[in-house]
Amino acid sequence: MYALAINELVKRYPTGTEALKGVSLEIEEGEFYGLLGPNGAGKSTLIHCTTGLAQPTSGSIEIFGHDAVHHYGDARLAVGLAPQEPNLDWFLTIEESLDFHGGYFGMPRKDRKERATELLDAFSLTDKRHEKTRFLSGGMKRRLILARALMHRPKLLILDEPTAGVDVELRLELWHYVQRINQEGTTILLTTHYLEEAEQLCTKIAFINGGEIVATGTSADLAREYNVTSLEDAYLALVGRGELSRAHVPVADA
């Protein structure tokens, strides 16, 4: 059984824009899967369709064998989403954000309390547990969003550009954490613009462009497919900007 199986997914907005043009994608259970593509390629739309934030025009989405579009109850229980933009509830504190999220996913009070304590500790948020989310720094919001996505112990974790705009130490801290939970069995779907992040973390990568999956494989497979030597060069070839390759950038004198 696949953790995520998307078949011929089409998403057409009322404006007529076709953001996804028959995307098919399969992610094995336990995989750390990267989805790369330029802005507007359809990454976020694909994630939104998977998590119920957008309604597909046609096609099917299954999460661990459960229909994620029409009978979505079990499918959504299995997914945790850390969105690109912080979407925290301003009226809640850090601890309440975790508690309410757990409640939305039907977790009993005792379990919510224990899980929240565990995550607050894991993400170094314990000291600030009573602070309202609107007053948190960008880094703290990122930590909380990831903790919230993990609150209900999802089997599939979707990270939509989780390290955009965060400092180096937090980025590395998040890498360590997501790698650990992946090793513990959580399947991860990651979108990122940091190619070294995808290279470091992902066991398999898909390139998406213009609403279509154009290539899939390991980092090395993709480099081979585009007849270049690195994932970054493969990506530049995908977006038609091969001239920007680091191979053409002179190294600064020390």
Binding site: H48, L88, D89, G103, Y104, P108
Partner: protein, 255 residues
């Protein structure tokens, strides 16, 4: 407790937590406003007005004030809460949960319904301490108030769904809701109005709502009670069905 029950209670708790966290604005301000209406229209102006349909003027206006408190608070709570959550995108946390459109709609509706109910009950208690407010027909008063609260809670959800900016919500509140309530006879009896205003008032749905609540409290009404109740049940059902359909489609919630 089942997962679905926990989910629904959490969705509802989110709504009540929001308005309790800003209680000066959501509970204190409406109470003060009602107290000022009672003081100005009841004590100050009312002392110059004789009895109206057999009761003191201040007693005559209390039912309308209580209904107005429930209606406006249910409406503004739900429209603001929904718009704020859409604006912050914090509603995505609920939309990506297993919650059904019915659970989401009911929890949101009940949030405003409860806030309106709390303000209305506190208004009644305060009025009861200051003035001898009778309750003549509790069998009409309770369903009447509940239906009015539910109707405006649904209306708040509908406006919150449609709204794209805060100006949209205040437009409905200032230019539609408030005039309908004020011209529905909160502060006067429509029978005292000259034509064509008396006839025009009968086209205002809020007039029938005030009639129900006033009958429940003081036993006087200018409207047909049974018809008004039927009208309210039909209006509540229609509005709820519309909202449920919009939630099901993800109207202005999901892309």
């Amino acid at each position: 407790m089942t997962g679905a029950q926990i989910r629904f209670l959490t969705l509802l708790r989110r709504e009540t937590t929001r308005f309790f966290k800003i209680k000066r604005q959501t509970l204190g301000a409406p109470l003060l406003e009602t107290f000022l209406y009672i003081s100005v229209f009841g004590a100050a102006l009312g002392s110059r007005i004789d009895q109206l349909h057999g009761v003191d003027y201040v007693v005559f206006i209390i039912p309308g004030l209580i209904m107005m408190a429930w209606a406006t608070n249910a409406f503004s709570n739900n429209s603001s809460s929904l718009l704020q959550q859409k604006f912050q995108r914090s509603i995505d946390d609920q939309l990506s949960s297993p919650a059904s459109p019915l659970e989401l709609l009911l929890a949101l509706s009940l949030g405003g319904f409860l806030r309106g109910g709390i303000v209305a009950v506190l208004t009644f208690v305060a009025a009861r301490i200051l003035i001898d407010v009778p309750i003549e027909h509790i069998e009409v008063l309770l369903p009447g108030l509940f239906l009015v609260g539910f109707f405006f809670a649904q209306l708040g959800v509908l406006v919150g769904l449609r709204a794209e900016q805060f100006d949209d919500v205040s437009f409905y509140q200032t230019f539609i809701l408030q005039p309908l309530i004020f011209l529905g006879g909160v502060f006067y009896s429509a029978t005292l109005l000259p034509e064509p205003f008396e006839t025009l008032t009968q086209f205002n749905p809020v007039y029938y709502m005030i009639g129900l609540v006033r009958y429940g409290f003081i036993g006087y009404s200018e409207t047909n009670i049974a018809l008004s109740l039927v009208f309210l049940v039909v209006a509540c059902t229609a509005l709820f069905a519309l909202n449920l359909r919009l939630f099901g489609r993800g109207y202005r919630l999901r892309a």
